[in-house]
């Protein structure tokens, strides 16, 4: 039996069905092994689809044989395939590396529950990506959000509770806004299928509710995506979550929201609303620029390593939004490529943080002085990923920064402002990354120097795989770029 046409459905169903089964795996370590296997399997599904999509194919799927617009449609194009690779890749690698770290942070008897929630987040996130149906997206969004609240609050750090509460409130507002918007569109068009919406909005005579809906949807998703200034939930949630959860969420969670935002705005609205393009740009570009500058500046003075990296994520999301806000092919390619490259860089950095957490319970920079002596391999991996975050040539981060800069050059009158902001923020990134490097390598250790004691092998191995991937995709970026450019063409195909 050829399973290929069923891949989009399998992508969701496998982790979702596996999640309750994991609960049954009580004996020590089995829950982890099961969850990891499922995540790796999902990763392979995503890769298979990505390879097929990069050859020009795309996947459509009608759940239960009910054709759209009556049934639920799944759809995976180039953009979706790219995001799926990011999400499942992050899940597979973080789960693979997670065992020892989770053992030290989560009590044994709660672990099956924890891994089960982890798979639910995965199922929710991939569900969002593959859905071609606005309401289905909402359902999966709720699944992933609720489960991720559990994950973030699940660690030993009690400060995670107020952070997660903030995240919950803001996330719910975001989801509600999205739902209100979808409801209004449904009211006017009578459909929830995205493709169907696109074709029917053109026939709507009274366009005002659609305009309001576009506003609600954009803001709701921007909240989920932590677009500045709606990002306040993010740094604390990342800081206090269990380390491996931070790795997973930082690499992919907000990116899925960005995916939906871009997809909704480009596919549904821009084809139908005259002037939407301009509104979209004028709304998001200033926010992106502000986010880049403010968040980078804050990160320069942040004292806690995890919060520093979390704040830097807000700036990086700004880059992604900036590229999209150009509404040009070059901009969208840059945006999509940065989704991928930032996941690599930030995922790698947080993996290195998880390694550091073995020796250093307190992750404030001041406490980490001289850590390169105790954990030389971890520190080196951190430097590599940090360089990628700055965008030094030869690393993945450079590719997307180059694309973004060349896209910004085409922006006419504002080109110089945009280029200046990107460059200045790169220099700010240099400052905050170098603060970490200096602390690790050149500050005198607080306690007496310990003999080298590295993190467990698997975790370190995964960290290095990601660090080397940062270099690999910096020198051979063809795979993410081919997907990105296909995605950009696809998205722009809908513009008026």
């Amino acid at each position: 039996m050829d399973l290929t046409p069923h891949l989009p459905a399998l992508q969701v169903i496998v982790p979702m069905l596996a999640a309750p089964l994991i609960l049954l795996l009580q004996p020590r370590g089995l829950a982890w092994a099961g969850a990891t296997l499922v995540a790796i399997f999902s990763f392979f599904i995503a890769l298979t689809m990505a390879v097929a999509v990069s050859k020009g194919a795309h996947f459509g799927y009608d759940m239960g044989g009910w054709t759209a617009p009556y049934g639920i449609e799944l759809y995976v194009g180039a953009f979706g395939a790219l995001v799926l690779v990011i999400v499942t890749g992050a899940a597979a690698l973080s789960l693979l590396a997670a065992r020892a770290s989770i053992d030290s942070q989560i009590e044994l008897e709660r672990q099956p529950l924890f891994y089960s929630a982890w798979l639910l987040v995965l199922a929710g996130l991939v569900g969002i990506v593959v859905s071609a149906d606005a309401f289905n997206i909402f359902v999966f969004m709720e699944i992933s959000s609720l489960a991720s609240y559990v994950l973030i609050a699940g660690g030993p750090d009690r400060r995670a509770l107020p952070s997660v509460f903030k995240y919950l409130i803001m996330g719910t507002i975001g989801a509600t806004f999205y739902l209100i918007g979808v409801g209004m569109v449904y009211m006017m068009t009578g459909t929830l299928n995205l493709a169907d919406m696109e074709s029917r909005i053109g026939g709507v005579t009274d366009i005002n509710p659609i305009l309001v809906a576009a506003g609600f949807i954009t803001i709701g998703l921007a909240l989920k995506a932590a677009v500045f200034p709606l990002h306040v939930w993010l740094p604390n949630a990342y800081t206090h979550a269990p380390h491996m959860i931070t790795v997973f969420l930082a690499a992919c969670a907000t990116k899925v929201a960005i995916y939906v935002l871009i997809r909704f705005d480009f596919v549904v609205f821009q084809a139908n609303l005259s002037g939407h393009q301009l509104q979209f740009s004028l709304f998001l570009m200033p926010l992106a620029l502000l986010g880049i500058m403010v968040a980078s500046a804050v990160a320069m003075f942040e004292g806690n390593l995890k919060r520093l990296l979390g704040t830097s994520s807000v700036a990086q999301i700004g880059y992604i939004m900036l590229g999209a806000s150009f509404v040009t092919e070059a901009g969208l390619i840059a945006s999509a490529a940065h989704l991928f490259n930032h996941a690599l860089a930030k995922g790698g950095l947080f993996l290195a943080v998880a390694c550091l957490a073995y020796q250093y319970k307190d992750l404030r920079l001041a406490q980490l002085a001289g850590a390169a002596k105790t954990m030389p391999y971890t520190a080196a991996a951190m430097v590599v990923c940090g360089l990628s975050l700055i965008g030094v040539p030869g690393t993945a981060g450079f590719i997307s920064k180059w694309l973004l800069l060349s896209a910004a050059m085409d922006e006419g009158r504002f080109a110089w402002l945009l280029v200046a902001v990107i460059l200045i923020s790169s220099l700010m990134a240099l400052v905050y990354v170098w603060r970490i490097v200096e602390t690790l390598y050149f500050k005198q250790a607080v306690a007496e120097a310990q003999s080298p004691k590295e993190a467990p092998g698997v975790l370190l191995l995964v960290t290095w795989v990601v660090a080397l991937a940062n270099i690999g995709f910096g020198l051979f970026p063809q795979f993410p770029l081919s997907l990105s450019s296909a995605a950009a063409k696809l998205l722009l195909g809908h513009v008026l």
């Binding site: 180059w402 220099l427 240099l430 170098w434």
Partner: protein
């Protein structure tokens, strides 16, 4: 062969790390043998270049128009041959110096040195701006651990200035210049005659040139020269090879290459907005020489002298005439020989006597005659007195300035010669003819390996005056087809 030249230093670096686990002698043999092997490989490329061939090597495109590719042309060949040749002498010196001063973390030192050489070769052979930029950044990063080698608070602070200025200028100015070039020309390939003619005009040319000149912080055109004195906290072998030869020459090399192969000399000459570069270079030469006059620390004096000498190369390139371009290339060599001698001598003095300040040098010539003779030769070369290397390059730069009828350049060269004499001659006088103060440390010459290296480079400085024909022959290829 290009590939071998690029990979060999990396292999050497790996070899050094491995050998460092077993014994110091083995590690240093690896360094020395590696340095010789690299020089052999690089110099082996020379006949091809003389024959007018341009060997190429490409690793394919990363993005459309962005490729990692190498092509050996006369200027790059000269730079690579210079750096790899002097690395041998420097390795001999390093061994003597590092042992003599009982420095720590020597394995890291030799490893980073080999990495820096790899980056230098990459800069020299790059066939487009992107590849050059890649290795330019690698060079900065690989030399950072060398500058901060000592590891104490003050050193780390200086190293931060070093890294901060070099990375900030390169990301903040050099990168946008590259992107701008790419945007208007659609290519980053180094092409004889330039790629920008007709694509950009008016004041934009001057602005783009400014982005390049100040973006390439390694060329130390004021006001982005501050990293050079800051880098003097490094051990002397680092100052000698990297901050008198490889790193700074990578800077002026890049600027020369951009002027010759990106803008095109004739195009720039016909564009009035590019003339500011001559003024900037002249200002740097005079100002840095004046600052050097006031220095009390020998290495800082040499650093400011380097800043001034680098701007000679920039000035020569900016005069935009064939003879001056040849002068720029020759001055890279001449200054390298002279300055490495001076730094070696300064390091020898530090190793033998722990002296770093000028006033401590009274009468030191009698205790360290070999070192101070070499120092004198190096200083005379800086001033441009025959029979030293400095005279040859100054001759060509002056000739080029006359060709361009650029009075400012002529005046600056003459004035700075006077200034150079004003800060070097008192040191020479003090060292040889004044009496040593009573109660000083009783010391003799530096370790033999150190002296050997100093004497070798001093001989090179002298020898280049007599045997420079082959270099000039090579660089004449650089200016083929240029308007006279």
């Amino acid at each position: 062969m290009i590939l071998v030249a690029l990979v060999l230093p990396l292999v050497i670096a790996a070899g050094i790390v491995l050998a460092g686990r077993f014994s110091d002698n083995l590690r240093e043999s690896v360094t020395l043998v590696g340095a010789c092997a690299l020089a052999w490989v690089v110099w082996g490329l020379l006949p091809e270049i003389y024959a007018g061939q341009r060997p190429e090597l490409s690793f394919g495109e990363i993005l459309p128009g962005l490729s990692v590719a190498f092509r050996v042309e006369p200027l790059g060949m000269l730079f690579a041959a210079l750096a790899s040749g002097l690395w041998i002498i420097n390795s001999v010196y390093s061994i003597g110096y590092m042992r003599g001063n009982k420095e720590k973390k020597q394995t890291r030192f030799y490893t980073c040195f080999a990495l820096a050489l790899a980056a230098t070769i990459g800069v020299a052979f790059a066939s487009n701006l992107f590849t050059l930029f890649l290795f330019y950044e690698l060079l900065t990063l690989s030399t950072y651990p060398l500058v901060s080698h000592k590891g104490d608070e003050a050193t780390v602070k200086s190293a931060r200035v070093y890294l901060g200025i070099l990375l900030c200028t390169s990301i903040g100015l050099f990168l946008p210049a590259i992107i701008w070039t790419y945007h208007v020309a659609g290519s980053l390939e180094f092409t004889p005659g330039g790629i920008l003619e007709g694509k950009i005009g008016g004041a934009d040319v001057g602005l783009l040139l400014a982005l390049f000149v100040f973006g390439v912080g390694k060329a130390a055109v004021m006001p982005v020269h501050r990293w050079l004195p800051a880098a003097m906290v490094a051990p002397t072998p680092v100052s000698a090879l990297l901050h008198a030869v490889a790193v700074v020459k990578a800077g002026v090399f890049t600027i020369t290459k951009v002027i010759v192969y990106i803008f095109g000399v004739d195009f720039l000459f016909s564009t009035p907005s590019s003339t500011w570069l001559v003024y900037a270079a002249c200002f740097t030469i005079i100002a840095a020489s004046l600052v050097a006059l006031r220095q009390q620390n020998l290495k800082r004096l040499l650093a400011y002298s380097t800043v001034a000498q680098l701007s000679y190369v920039v000035l020569a390139a900016a005069v935009l005439k064939p003879l001056a371009e040849i002068g720029a290339a020759i001055h890279m060599v001449a200054h390298a020989f002279g300055k490495i001698t001076l730094f070696f001598a300064a390091g020898a003095i530090y190793t033998a006597a722990k002296k770093t300040e000028l006033h401590q040098l009274r009468g030191i010539g009698r205790r360290m005659p070999w070192t101070m003779t070499a120092f004198t030769i190096g200083a005379l070369s800086m001033i441009g007195v025959p029979p030293t290397a400095g005279f040859v390059s100054k001759w060509y730069i002056l000739a080029g300035s006359f060709q361009a009828e650029n009075l400012l350049a002529i005046f600056t060269i003459i004035a700075s010669t006077v200034l150079n004499a004003a800060y070097f001659l008192p040191i020479i006088f003090m060292a040889w003819f004044e009496r040593e103060p009573e109660g000083g440390k009783n010391h003799g010459e530096a370790p033999p390996l150190v002296v050997l290296a100093v004497v070798a480079t001093a001989l090179l400085t002298l020898g280049f005056f007599f045997f420079n024909g082959s270099v000039i022959e090579l660089e004449k290829q650089l200016v083929q087809g240029m308007a006279q």
